[in-house]
């Protein structure tokens, strides 16, 4: 049994145009100690799905799932109090903007010890000691002094380390990192990622890394999920994804990486991600896909077994060639 099991998770929000599905039928299993990356553009629903798992969405959100269990417990049926015991303790999350994610009115030390004391009920002195330990662990120099600092007195990188310290303070089994390095300098990015990986290794935590940066994915993940417009497009192990993507969207994303550029002009994906008012029929990606056929317009592809993993496409690619595609069949003919 996997640590986290999600089957057909959907998150919908009410809008002027009706209910908008920010997350549409997402399924994911994460084992103890695994590192999974969820990759996609803004608006792909990658953050919202994980916020839904944590139970951090606003009350207007409608969260439904066929299955959503953590360590065997059904998250959908837990009372609010029970959910809270898991959150912050066994399942932790860090966010994109570290400085605004910390309360400007309280010291860093207070914010770290708070989580420990609420979940584990230990005394102030012991909690303080643990906090110093944690700050040291996440690589903050002079941790004793830092306890009394306020978030606005520290840099973004330091604050993200503090956030990580808070997240791991109760030894979670799963850590969800939502774009942890996006708001930071490139030099700090590498440090934070290394820190996350090191902690993951030491504690055997499962790590879900949400990002839009393929470079980050390449360096950290074991398994990758590619999301598009709220749906999962592809799930493969990281090597396979980079060597031989199955979904045309993934292929296009990789082609747009500067490191892979072959010509002077970077290839772009023409068109835009569908928003609330303009969901295309059939496959959501078909307006932007070079291999789209009538079938793609009429029938939504299911998220199914593909050649090297799971994919949501009628004609998954192998070596850039769509499988069972009319065009290839014609040229074969």
């Amino acid at each position: 049994m996997a640590l986290l099991e999600i089957r057909d998770l959907t998150v919908a929000f009410p809008t002027l145009h009706g209910m908008f599905k920010a997350v549409d039928g997402v399924s994911l299993d994460v084992d103890q100690g695994e590192i999974v990356a969820i990759v996609g553009e803004s608006g792909s629903g990658k953050s919202v799905s994980m916020l839904g798992v944590m139970g951090l969405l606003p009350w207007t959100a409608r969260v439904t799932a066929e299955r959503m269990t953590f360590a065997g417990k059904d998250l959908r049926n837990l009372s609010r109090t029970e959910r809270r015991t898991i959150r912050g303790k066994d399942m932790a999350m860090i966010f994109q903007e570290p400085t605004t994610s910390l309360n400007p009115c309280f010291t860093v030390g207070f914010q770290i010890t708070e989580a420990i004391r609420v979940h584990e009920g230990i005394g102030a002195r012991e909690a303080r000691r643990r906090a110093v330990e944690l700050l040291d662990k996440v690589g903050i120099p002079a941790p004793e002094q830092r306890l009394k600092a306020f978030p606005h007195q520290m840099s973004g990188g330091m604050n993200q380390r503090v956030m990580i310290a808070i997240a791991i303070s109760c030894n979670p089994r799963l850590l969800i990192a939502d774009e942890p390095t996006t708001a930071l300098d490139v030099t700090i990015q590498a440090q934070i990622l290394d820190l996350l990986l090191e902690l993951q290794r030491e504690r055997g935590m499962a790590l879900i890394l949400i990002t839009h940066d393929m470079g980050v994915v390449a360096e950290t993940a074991e398994r990758v999920v590619v999301q598009y417009a709220g749906q999962q497009a592809e799930m493969q192990d990281v090597r396979g994804l980079f060597d031989d993507p199955m979904h045309p969207y993934t292929e296009a994303l990789l082609a747009a990486l500067p490191e892979r550029a072959t010509e002077r002009r970077l290839p772009t994906i023409k068109g835009v991600v569908p928003g609330a008012g303009d969901r295309p029929p059939g496959c959501l990606f078909h307006p932007r896909c070079r291999n789209a056929t009538d079938h793609c317009v009429k029938v939504e592809p299911p998220f199914d077994r593909g050649p090297r993993g799971l994919v949501r496409c009628h004609y998954p690619l192998t070596d850039g060639v769509p499988a069972d595609h009319p065009r290839t069949q014609e040229s074969a003919a």
Partner: protein
């Protein structure tokens, strides 16, 4: 790789064209039932003031000696001839209230027009020219703000002499800083933005920059402030009237009516209640509409 025939049927979905700005504004605004209610009430009041001579059963200054302090029609001693009763000199309260609506609307209009135009002008100048000009203007505004608003209005009226016109001038002066600060803040914000720099580079002169380029982008908060300023103007002018410093009796201005009524507060409740109720309803309507405007025009509140 042959891209050929395939994507002839590439149905690039026509995204539904997003609604135009006016339609979008109305969509938000009309959702707010209070705001729409306020708008309806305002329309009724405007109609009442225009048609006052027709609607009001009596002339506002006509005194009926036989009907002094008559209660409203649903109480003993009241008649439908004077539906809301009469005051101490026998004037019909209902008619005076209807005629009073003219004064309230005019007060609001004049005060807001005066303080808006002068305030925005000063704000534009301050935000544009910076330096000494800005300091002088803003310090002057600080002085106005340092004094409690009613106090300043009273002082100005004390200088100019009591009367409705002077009351309006006094209130307009008291509200100046709000518009000036708002405009200056917006101007300073917008100045550094690219579209302004582009305009300037293209050769736009100062006046054009001020009025045609920047001002339209500051309109939203100004509109909201103006609507709320309307209601505040009515309240403050009524306060001055009540203190005897505004519209003078026998003018049927609602605040002045309350001044006359004060002695009879325990004897004849209707003389006090109805003019005040009229003020409340009018001010409430403008405030509701102002709130609705603010919500509809505030980009942060826009939903997807």
């Amino acid at each position: 790789m042959a891209r050929a025939e395939l994507r002839a049927d590439a149905v690039t979905l026509e995204a539904k064209a997003p609604p135009g700005p006016l339609a979008e504004f109305w969509a938000y605004f009309s959702e707010n039932r209070g705001a729409v209610g306020g708008l309806v009430v305002i329309c009724i009041i405007v109609l009442a003031s225009i048609l006052a001579d027709v609607i009001a059963p009596h002339a506002p200054f006509a005194q009926y000696r036989d009907h002094l302090l008559q209660p409203p029609f649903w109480q003993a001693g009241g008649t439908l001839e004077f539906p809301l009763g009469t005051d101490a000199v026998g004037r019909d309260i209902f008619s005076r209230i209807i005629h009073g609506s003219r004064f309230s609307l005019i007060i609001g209009l004049i005060v807001v027009t005066l303080s808006l135009s002068i305030g925005v002008g000063l704000g534009l100048v301050a935000g544009f020219f910076r330096g000494w000009t800005e300091t002088m203007i803003m310090r002057l505004m600080d002085v106005i703000l340092a004094m409690p608003s009613l106090l300043l209005a009273i002082v100005i009226v004390a200088i100019l002499g009591p009367g409705l016109e002077n009351a309006m001038i006094a209130v307009a002066i008291v509200y100046l800083p709000h518009y000036t600060r708002l405009t200056r803040g917006s101007v300073i914000n917008e100045r550094s933005k690219d579209y302004v720099v582009a305009s300037r580079v293209a050769g736009a002169g100062t006046l054009r920059l001020m009025f045609a380029t920047i001002l339209p982008n500051c309109m939203a908060p100004l509109i909201v402030q103006a609507t709320l300023g309307f209601s505040n103007a009515i309240l403050d002018a009524a306060a001055l009237g009540f203190l005897g410093l505004g519209a003078q009796p026998p003018t049927p201005e609602w605040g002045t009516m309350l001044a006359d009524a004060r002695e009879f507060v325990l004897r004849a409740w209707w003389v006090v209640t109805f003019p005040g109720l009229a003020i409340l309803i009018t001010v409430l309507a403008f405030n509701l509409m102002g709130d609705g405007l603010r919500d509809a025009l505030d980009p942060k509140m826009k939903r997807s």
